[in-house]
């Protein structure tokens, strides 16, 4: 059989894995939903939370589609479709594909055709290099969760601070990341201001949403404040980049 990176066979194989991933998500959704109902949680509120999660996901998911298109130039559509629907991310998949291709004397971004052997080699590298999280969570997830529950039972106040501190630690790392190109400003290159300004617009939009909820009593805004600040922040990047880029 002649090999083609866009062969229907590869679409079918990728599709099988993706359907299984989809099934896992549906399974956990139904399980959690039933449990929430059983313990008497406010189902209307949960529906709004699910709606917000869906709306919020759209923009990052479109960015993932762009990553599929980018990787498809070298690898065809089925492999990036599979890889970006499970486990990976744009940066990881690009690095893994680049390393695998260069190990076989190819240059990422300039590959016109792959043999079946090269393709299998690239897939093996991409698959094996990121498998740790999938098996490590089943191995230690329960112990980690038990540790948190016992912390909660020992000292509730510290347990609450503990979980807030973890979130703040994660957010502070990403806030720092927004400024990683800032030092170029000291050399007169204003492009380093683009990410901080986009972040500022997003933060201001979030503040305006918060004020609107308080002043005009529009509770629905609080449900969609994060997607709104995300989209307007991204939109602001277009004129800001045109001005400073």
């Amino acid at each position: 059989m002649n090999f083609d990176v866009n062969s229907p066979v590869l679409f079918v194989l990728a599709g099988i894995v993706i359907v299984a991933v989809l099934a896992q998500s549906v399974y956990f959704l139904v399980k959690a939903w039933r449990r929430a109902k059983a313990i008497g949680m406010d189902m209307g509120k949960l529906k709004r939370i699910a709606g917000t999660a869906a709306v919020f996901t759209i923009a990052p998911a479109v960015a993932i589609v762009i990553s599929v298109i980018t990787l498809a130039k070298d690898l065809g559509v089925p492999l990036p479709w599979l890889r970006l629907s499970v486990v990976g991310s744009m940066s990881y998949e690009t690095i893994a594909a680049t390393n695998a291709e260069s190990a076989m004397g190819l240059t990422f971004g300039q590959v016109t055709s792959l043999t079946a052997r090269q393709y299998v080699t690239i897939v093996c590298v991409m698959t094996l290099s990121i498998m740790v999280g999938i098996w490590l969570v089943p191995l230690i997830g329960k112990k980690l969760q038990s540790g948190l529950i016992s912390l909660e039972n020992r000292d509730k106040k510290w347990s609450d601070i503990f979980s807030s501190a973890m979130f703040i630690g994660m957010i502070s790392a990403f806030l720092g990341y927004v400024f990683c190109d800032f030092s170029v400003v000291f050399r007169g290159d204003m492009s380093g201001l683009i990410p901080p300004l986009v972040m500022l617009v997003s933060a201001l939009v979030m503040c305006v949403c918060g004020l609107a909820v308080r002043k005009f009593k529009w509770p629905w805004i609080s449900d969609y404040a994060l997607p709104i600040s995300l989209i307007l922040g991204m939109a602001s990047a277009i004129p800001i980049t045109a001005l400073l880029g």
């Binding site: 970006l84 997830g141 106040k157 501190a165 703040i168 939009v205």
Partner: protein, 221 residues
Amino acid sequence: MKNDLSYMDSVHRDGRIWNISMMVLLFLFPVAVAVIYHVLPDWQGFLMGLIATAPMYWAVAVVETFTYVPMLGAGGSYLSFVTGNISNLKLPVALNALEQADVKVNSEEGELVSTIAIAVSSIVTTLIILLGVLLITPLTPILNAPVLEPAFAQILPALFGGLGVVFISKNWKISIAPVILMLVLFIFVPALNSSTVGIMVPVGVLFTLGVSRIMYKKGLL
């Protein structure tokens, strides 16, 4: 309490079965291609590619597991580590949902809210990617349009601007030290960039936990 434990136990049991099955299924993809096309990997290329890629990502995955599992909850973790895009999508979705519901992730309500938000996000992501693949020919020129490029390049700043306001305003006392530390590090250490931010997340988490513990012990929180 017994019911609570049995629900959590069942989440771990099901999560283990799903994740191990998904791992096997993911391995079967290259195996199936190899069998169908009667080829074996280029072992030298495979080893060199693996050595260049795996050590860093294996280390990052170990650190991410310890860092993210307590934030995502049990069900959310099993799902997120299969569906990927954790820091740029699943974790913000879970954080926002917990904030919306006003619950902590270490409560049962928090566990359920986080799982529901991550599951919905995973389903929507999968469906949008599927749509993108089906419509790849007409979509490519639109999504690759130069005018839209800056918007998609700035997703993380746009995401963490809004999220930062919500969480920092509610926890400003414990936010000051880690935010200053990270700003100084990312501005003045050239090695810190988009590919190293994953490593800095646990650093930020451990530092914030340490500062918070000291403040808590001194009665400042």
